[in-house]
Amino acid sequence: MGEHLSKGAMTDGQGQTLDFATFPGHRLVLDAADPLPLDCGESLSGVTIAYQTYGRLNAERSNAILLCHALTGDHYVADEHPVTGKPGWWADLVGPGRIFDTDRYFLICSNVLGGCMGTTGPADINPATGRPWGLAFPVITIGDMVRAQVRLIDHLGIEKLFCVVGGSMGGMQALEWASRYPERVFAAAPIATAARHSAQNIAFAEVGRQAILTDPDFHEGDYALHGTKPDRGLAVARMAAHITYLSEAALHRKFGRNLQGRERFTYGFGADFQVQSYLRHQGSTFVDRFDANSYLYITRAMDYFDLAADHGGQLAQAFQGTPVRFCVISFTSDWLFPTAESRAVVHALNAVAANVSFVEIESDKGHDAFLLDEPEFHATLQGFLDGAADHRGLPRQTDRHGLPRQTDRHGLPREKDAP
């Protein structure tokens, strides 16, 4: 009972406290006697991990895929989102006969450490004070997020994941998993990501954080105690970040210089342009589902990520002798995690003669392309997973005639096989 009340700082758009206990999915509370050590030197005890699963774990426990969500994602990969009511971020890719075939694989996704959708984060109650952690929450890293996921995988009795897949920050987690726990990962697909947050990435993250930190409603992170929320700062952070997820071409195609519900300029600072109105909407809806402190902590975790630095400056050292099969995917118009970053990962993997595929997908949709309908991306991911699953000895699903089930280029079942 106390668990969901401890998330008192998270409220929905109408100011109602979110009741995580009523949300779909599962929760694991880690043994308080075995605290989770963190890279910063501190540790967290009694961590809660909110997670969702799809499909069934096979008897050999060899068919588990860990899906890692991005900065503002959560574990509702294919569920209707309990706050926004929108479909999950990869809903189209999950299901029987789809890329993440729930008849073949057991899918796991957990809300990251520091998150705000049920896993322990800065909005939770600090047991030492009885108040929400706020900025007293220890600074976490991508490595810490993965360490929490390892506890979850242990709890589920899975010795070795079949695959770890993630885009953007989720891709960082996939790289971290493959680097730190190579014996526990058969395959990894880091998508639209990098082995480090670049100076430009850190710069954009800093703009977002400053918008939050300087919001008068922020109250040094203790906004819950003051009965306020730094919604303006968080909305600006989201607006700035959202621009980095798109491309000039995508923005132009979507909005151009079109005016919003008016014939001519108002010669003021209102939302004359459609693109303004769009961004404002993105900002204002985001604050209903995301906690400002979580945003600070998670962007910081991304800033600190630098796999090469953890290995004496040699990225290849992060993968020395790796048995993991990799598929690295980037998108041509992604300027937040450009192809050059993926190529650096591929070069490092080549240097250790790792088994790696690398594809740059042509898309003008920017960084967000990994969440959108990109048939070539989906065909690539499907081919990689199918090939890896064959090597892992996971049986292919067959249709009612005993033939391999046919899927279309999106990985969706062809009509004749549809139930």
Binding site: R325, C327, V328, V346, H347, N350, A351, V352, A353, N355, V356, S357, F358, V359, E360, I361, E362, E376, A379, T380, Q382, G383, F384, D386, G387, A388, D390
Partner: protein
């Protein structure tokens, strides 16, 4: 055989010659692998640990979508990333003539592979010679389909030229095969006659 097996079995003769040179279970890197036809064949019939590099993204996407381990990369610039002796065989099929620095590429092949298999169109083939001799124009044949101004093939050589390069580089020719236009295969591609009659050649090389 299933239809997929038949498709896999029916590869080009020059690719079949290469496949025949590779031991089962070997570690193979196919440089310039295209859509991965040879890799797919080798995976299926020789159970190799196969990887590919391909310059064209369309080729890479097609290969990876079939479950092959292929990266986008360039033979001239990206071989240097691989460690010494990482593969049992490094294959360069019909790609040597399109590299900027064939000598360096050959060295790299034999650095990262215990053996290299190189196939190339023979510019000493009599039809090619006669095309230039009689018509006075750059040869365009069944295997050399490009016009001079749009060809990716920038470093043609004859079988004799290639044999010379191997000698200069201290590379031992373990086996060589030559292939005529009608698909006839002869063992040994070293003689004068082979240089006249062969449209293509396949060399199995190792460092002395």
């Amino acid at each position: 055989m299933t239809p997929a097996d038949l498709r896999r079995d029916a590869i080009r003769v020059d690719l079949q010659l290469i496949a025949d040179m590779i031991d089962p279970g070997a570690r193979v890197l196919d440089v310039g692998c295209g859509q991965g036809i040879l890799l797919d064949h080798l995976n299926h019939f020789k159970q190799v640990d196969g990887r590919g590099i391909e310059l064209s993204m369309a080729g890479v996407r097609a290969a990876v979508a079939q479950g092959l381990s292929v990266i986008q990369g360039d033979a001239d610039t990206d071989l240097k990333d691989y460690p010494d002796g990482a593969f049992d065989y490094v294959v360069l099929s019909q790609t040597l003539q399109a590299t900027r620095n064939p000598r360096l590429v050959l060295r790299e092949l034999l650095r990262i592979g215990r053996r290299a298999i190189v196939s190339f169109p023979n510019f000493g083939y009599w039809r090619v010679r006669s095309h230039l001799l009689l018509r006075g124009r750059m040869p365009v044949t069944k295997t050399l389909t490009y016009q001079w101004y749009d060809t990716p093939n920038i470093h043609f050589c004859t079988i004799a030229d290639f044999t010379d390069l191997c000698r200069e580089e201290g590379v031992r020719v373990e086996r060589s095969m030559s292939l005529t236009a009608d698909g006839r295969v002869s063992h040994g591609a070293s003689g004068l006659l082979a240089n006249w009659l062969s449209e293509q050649a396949v060399f199995l090389l190792r460092r002395d």
